[in-house]
Amino acid sequence: MSILFDNVTARYPNAPQDALRNVSFALPSSSFALLVGHNGAGKSTLVRLMNGMIRPKAGVIAVNGLSTDGIPTSRLAAEVAVTFQNPADQLFAPTVRDEVAFGPRNLRLPGIDDHVSDALALCGLTSVADRHPYDLSLAERKLLTIASAVAMQTPVLAFDEPNAGLSQPERRRLHTIFSTLKARGRMLLVISHDLGQFLSLTDRIIALDGGSLVYDGTPSGVSDAEKILRRTGVRFPFSERVVQLLEK
């Protein structure tokens, strides 16, 4: 199993209640899971638990069979690459290529140049490889943060709202990136409300509400669980909604 959560509870220091309460699920490799829930439902807590940024109050988390207990984040980064929403929080290298090479250099991966070129090609950034990251548009900078995670060759990749602020051409590229990664056997966990964009890729939907797991199933089960999912703010693709309405 690429990711295993076994009855995990987590609480931030001096927080009134648990951010996550006995959550259990397992996600296999070469799969794509969509993590949904309103702000504060515990989505980012779950992601931070995966790479050891936060330590659980109770329960066990295993990434690629390796328990995260006691392992520093910089070591877990070889198993789980996490990409956050705001590119400005991580871009600092003088060129796009150096930026993508930052992760692999920290992990001391062999054959860094190949990984970097492969990641740049996958994300369509080869033509701008030697430009400064801030020469790129915001959408391209988001793809750059994805490329720098891909280059780390980690079995598990987590993305926080990867398609926020992207327009149609970039969304299509994001779709090819994710389907290629999935085909390569990676496990992808994506936080997003946009079911429509990722529907064809999604194997599992995990819905959180108030820190507890309210739905863990395949997308086809979505229509009967609509009331639960609607509470978590999932934005159904327009055409799905109309079709469901017509079929009722």
Binding site: T73, A77, V82, L91
Partner: protein
């Protein structure tokens, strides 16, 4: 009101250099008393009061250390106390006392001013008394960014550590990751400054001079008397040095 407090700080700073130590001790206690009881000077928030108490401890400790250090290391002059291996000289003690009293008087005056004057009121005072728009806008924007940057730094740490930055490794690793943390902070500040200059210009900032109609605030009597005191002290000091 704020003008009076500014005049008070100026008065104390001049006294710290112009007047003999004994007189300075009197003003020092005056500054403490004002800070405690006069509503104008009372700390403006619980947090400010805590800072005031913490400062008093710091000032006391610092004065003691200064006096002892100088007493120890100033060799010449009459020896007040001889503990065999360590001697305390009179001149050292006097120098220590003079320095620490001046330090505490000047610091207390500054602290009493700031702890009783919220910075946004200070900015409003500067603005209404015709200070250049650059000064007040940079001060106000600094307060805004001071609130936002600590959280930004947290996010940058999280993002870079998630990419394997050795922030908790040995000294070499931590030193190397210093740039991977400060880099995004500085670059994003530069880029945001450019974006903000657009946003501010689109809402008419900086306003043309004719739009900055300002009324001059009349200085109150206490402010005038303090300034008169400053002039008197400077005059006395100059007269004394020429004699």
């Amino acid at each position: 009101m704020i003008a009076t407090k500014l005049a008070f700080v100026l008065f104390c700073w001049t006294a710290a250099f112009a007047l003999p130590t004994a007189v300075q001790v009197v003003f020092m206690h005056a500054a403490f008393v004002l800070g405690r009881f006069l509503p104008l000077f009372r700390p403006s928030s619980a947090q400010a009061r805590r800072l005031y108490v913490r400062f008093l401890l710091y000032a006391g400790l610092l004065s003691a250390v200064v006096v002892i250090l100088n007493a120890l290391f100033v060799r010449n002059g009459e020896v007040l106390l001889d503990l065999g291996i360590v001697q305390f000289s009179r001149e050292g003690v006097e120098f220590g006392l003079r320095v620490s009293v001046r330090l505490v008087l000047m610091s207390t005056a500054v602290l009493v001013f700031f702890l009783s004057t919220p910075l946004r009121d200070l900015a409003a005072f500067l603005d209404s008394s015709g200070a250049p728009a650059v000064l007040t806008s940079v001060l106000l924007l600094s307060l805004e960014f001071l609130e936002r940057l600590p959280q930004r730094i947290e996010q940058i740490f999280t993002a870079q550590e998630a990419r394997g930055a050795p922030v908790r490794a040995g000294f070499a690793g931590r030193f190397r990751s210093l740039f991977s943390i400060l880099g995004p902070l500085i670059v994003s500040s530069i880029v945001e400054s450019v974006e903000r200059s657009h946003a501010l210009a689109l809402r008419g900032f900086p306003a043309p001079p004719e739009h900055r109609i300002r009324i001059r605030l009349p200085l109150t009597i206490p402010a005038w008397s303090l300034i008169a005191g400053v002039v008197a002290m400077v005059g006395w000091k100059l007269w004394e040095s020429f004699r």
